[in-house]
Each structure stands twice: as C-alpha cells, then as structure tokens.
C-alpha cells in the first residue's frame, strides 16, 4: 500500500514537471514529436484494453483512429461546428460504430474475430481513400481549425501539448480504474479462460463488445486530437500497418501492465529521433529488434523487467513460500 502511494506521487510529480519543462526545452519540431507520441500512446492504450486486458486481437484500431479524425475534420470544416462538439462526436461516433461492428463480429470466435478486424481496417481505409464527397478521397481534408473552448484557442504546439497531456492523463486514469474494477477483471477472465469466465457469471459476448467499444472510443479521441494538431488528415495515415505498430508497441512494452504501453510507445517513437544518424537503418533495426525481443522477453520489457527483479529479490532474501501442504 505504501509503495502504491509513493508510486502515485512520483508519477504525479513527474507529469507536473514534464508539463512545465518539456515545452521550455524543446524545439517546435521536438514538441510535435512529443505530441504525436502522446496521441499514439492513447491508441496503444486502446490496444491494451482490447488485447492486453480482454485478449481480443484487433487490427481495426488505426481505422477507428481515422474515424475519430475524420468525424472531427468533417464536423469542423464542412459543417462548421465547434471543436468541443466535434471532439465529443468523435468519441461517441467511433464508439457507436465499434459497438455495431462488435455486435456482428463477436459472433466469431478465436482467430476469426481478429481476421475480421483486418477486413474492418481495410474497408475503413478504402472508404477514407475513395469516398470523395465525405472524406475528400485521396486529397484528404485540410484547414481543420485548432481546438478551442469558447474564446480560448489551442493554436500553438505548446497549447496542443498541454491539451493532449491532460487527455493522456485522464485516459490513463480511466484505464487504471477499469483495470481494478469488476469490469476489468471480467476482461482478463475472458482473455485467460473464457469458459471459466462464463461459469463465473461473465456475459462474454456483451463484455467483449464493451471492451471493443471502449478501446475504439480511446482511438476516437486520439483521432480528434490528431486532426486538431495537424490540421490536415489523409487516408495514408490510417492503415493496417499502423494498427500492427500499436500491437507491436504494446507487446514490446508489456501487455499485462499499464506501464507497458508507456514504455512501448516511448521506445518506438522517441528512439528513432535520438538515433537519427542511423536514419536509413532505423526500420531495419526496429524490425530485427522486435524479432529478438519476442524471443528474449515475450512479456515485453516491463514483464521481463519484473521477472528479473523477482529473481534478484528471491536470491537476495532467500524467501520461503509459506503454505503448509503435505
């Protein structure tokens, strides 16, 4: 308990310090990288919910990210609605679409659901790419205004940084709460043993849909933030490989804890920036690195770190398990 409280304050202080320091020391370019990283983190969190917790592989997440972005773009640019309405619409709209898809697709079991999500992202991408009257087709949608509440506008990179940071913190807290709730436990029960879950009163069909919808809503808000940040969106961003990237980030960081998405996203988004001199080879190293890491640390860096920590601790304390069977 004491450890948890200390951890909480450490994280809170870290975030507060980051909120103040990062904009001061970073160039506009670096700040943009940070902003995109945070938006990506929200999408990786969505993968954490649907796959890390509920065990359902979904390649649709980048598609939902796009849905969120396009809803905001369409509402602000074509319908001239306020950014606040747009962000809410993105969250709710993406959630609604996911819920409807979930109703149909969770009738499928095991691998088949995952395969269908490949279809979903490909179809969504096809729509983004070709539905000219609504999504602008290959031209995309430009001129998306900055986010604003009333007369308060978030035009600069730093404004966006603070806006996105607030949402990141909020979404992380929501995820933390879900993880420790009965809903979160029902997700994990489905992941680890669906039959046991059902025999423990979990309506797995409905619960999977809830997980899928919640995850999609995370992508929805991430998409909206992305649209406001970059003021131009196009279909080439919201693709199957992008979804695969979220999955990889989750697995690299660790799929079983909240710290996993943080580590995974930071690693894959910021490392390329720090190793710019390896520019040409970056993707190659990334691909090979993923392959190696899966062999060496299948629980991700956090999971592997925990195991290493446990084995060091056990050796240090010579701890005996205290059960008296036999």
């Amino acid at each position: 308990m004491i450890l948890k409280r200390r951890l909480f304050w450490m994280v809170a202080i870290l975030i507060a310090v980051a909120a103040i320091v990062i904009p001061l020391v970073s160039s506009n370019y670096m700040l943009r990288v940070v902003n995109i990283t945070m938006i990506t983190y929200i999408c990786v969190l969505s993968m954490f919910i649907v796959f890390g917790m509920a065990g359902q592989i979904s390649f649709a997440q980048a598609g939902f990210w796009g849905v969120g972005a396009y809803i905001t773009a369409i509402l602000t640019v074509k319908l001239q609605l306020s950014p606040v309405i747009a962000i809410f619409a993105s969250v709710l709209g993406t959630g609604l679409i996911a819920a409807i898809l979930g109703l149909a697709l969770f009738r499928l079991h095991g691998h088949y659901f995952g395969f269908s999500t490949i279809g979903v992202v490909m179809i969504l991408n096809g729509l983004f790419q070709n539905w000219k009257p609504v999504t602008g087709g290959a031209d995309g949608i430009g001129g998306i205004p900055a986010f604003g509440i009333g007369s308060w506008e978030f035009t600069s990179e730093m404004n966006n940084f603070h806006l996105i940071l607030v949402i990141v913190v909020a979404v992380s807290i929501i995820t933390y709460i879900v993880q420790r709730s009965a809903l979160g436990r029902s997700f994990m029960a489905i992941r680890d043993n669906e039959i046991a879950a059902k025999c423990m009163g979990v309506n797995s069909y409905k619960t999977k849909i809830i997980a899928f919808t919640l995850a999609a809503m995370y992508c929805g808000i991430a998409g909206s933030l992305f649209a406001f940040l970059t003021s131009y969106i196009s279909a080439t961003t919201f693709t199957f490989p992008q979804s695969a990237l979220y999955l990889v980030m989750l697995m690299l960081g660790g799929y079983n804890t909240l710290a996993g998405p943080v580590v995974g996203t930071l690693l894959l988004m910021l490392l390329p920036e720090w190793f710019r001199f390896l520019q040409e080879y970056i993707l190659l190293i990334y691909g090979l690195g993923v392959m190696v890491l899966m062999v060496v640390m299948p629980d991700g860096l956090i999971g592997g770190g925990k195991k290493a920590y446990e084995s060091i601790r056990k050796r240090g304390w010579a701890k005996q398990p205290s059960n008296d069977i036999g």
Binding site: S186, N193, G201
Partner: protein, 251 residues
Amino acid sequence: MNLSAKEAGQSSPVMILDKLCKRFGGVVAADEISFTLASGQIHGLIGPNGSGKSTALNLISGVTDMDSGNVILDGETITKEASYMRARLGIARTFQHPRLLKRCDVRTNLFLGSDLANMKKHSSPFTLEQLMEAAGLRLDLGDSITTMSYGQQKLFEIVRALLTNPKVVLLDEPAAGLNTKEMERVEALINIAVKNNAAVLLVEHSMDLVMNLCHVITVLNFGRPIAEGIPEEILSNEAVIEAYLGRGRSA
C-alpha cells in the same frame, strides 16, 4: 464420518435434473440423467470412466448444450439459459483441470468470485479468510497464480467457487491428484459449503471421499443412471459392482 450431517442438514430440493440427454455423434454421453439436489446435502455422482459424469456437469452448468431434458433451479426452469446466466442464478463449479486466470494475480482470480457474489441480492455467508484458512492457502493477494502447486490450484478453485455465494456447487473430481492432507482440506471446504446450505454435487473417483461425505449417491454407466441411494446401499448394489467390473471394495 459425516453421516450425521444427513440429519443436521436442511433437505429442501434446490435443483431438479429431468432426463438430461446428450449425444456426441454416435456416442450417447448422457441418457436420461435425472436426480434431485437438496440444499445442505452432498450428492455423489460416480461411475466408471466415460460414464458421463463430466458431461453431466457440463450440461448442468450450461457449458454444453443438451439435446433434451430440463434443469430446474429453485422452481425456475433454466434449461434455455446460457452458462453465465446459470452462474448468476447460483450455480458454481470447478473443473477437472483447474481453470484459473494464469496471467492474473491472486487478487484478480479471487475477486472474480466475489464479483459474482456482489451481483446477487442476498449477502454472502462465505468469507475469504474462512475459506482460505480451510484450504490451507496462505497467499498474498499480489502473488502470481503460477507459484501454486497443482493441489493448491485445485483447492483455490474451490475457494473461488464458494466465494460466489452459490446455491449449488458442482465439483469435478476435486481430489484427483491430491495428497491426503489436501484431500482433508477439500472435505473441510465441502463442509463449509454444506453448513451454509449450498447443495453439493460431487463427481469423484476417490471412493473414500465419496463414501465418507455423501448423503446420497447416483451411479452412472454409459450415461445412464443405474442406481441411486445412500452409500451402504450403493456398495452392495449388484449393478454397480458389475459396472465397475473387478473394482472390488472392502466395505
């Protein structure tokens, strides 16, 4: 050892199984299985391997769909209900090989049980401390499940089942693979269930446990009930002896 519990326990029927039938292709797994479970009673379900005992549990808990027959719980026919619904209505079970959440910690696994209890209207007489004590498990809530031995995992699964505050507890070979001390703990847990008026359906191969604990025993062979009665009657029943063929028991 526990025949006095027969008098002590309440005896109102809580679950009625009416002619449950199930075929898998050409194999008849369940052939008009019928019996009644009463609250506070331990009902044994025995039979040679392949006689349909696990199938019966799967049909009752809703894991397998039945071809025909009815399951009635507290007067309500729940035959059409999905397994999660039956769990919410008060059926809890364990499995031959423990179905625990291997990637979650002890807390998550246990609270999954109490989450179900919280869904029910009446408060639960089962407490975590009492159950863990009876099971002999001293675990930290943050521990990983995988540190437990097989026997501990089986006991853990029974604890989880009882935490749900069930009306009916289905136990699928809880003693299989356990040593004597662990079997004693299984008995202790079953007694707690019975003391709190749950009905226990015990599928077992360990005759010691069955004869000691059960108030009533139903014997299955090839999916069909061939005998039902108190332990002494079953031991001397010719049809039963024949079904087991050569498994002589000194009574």
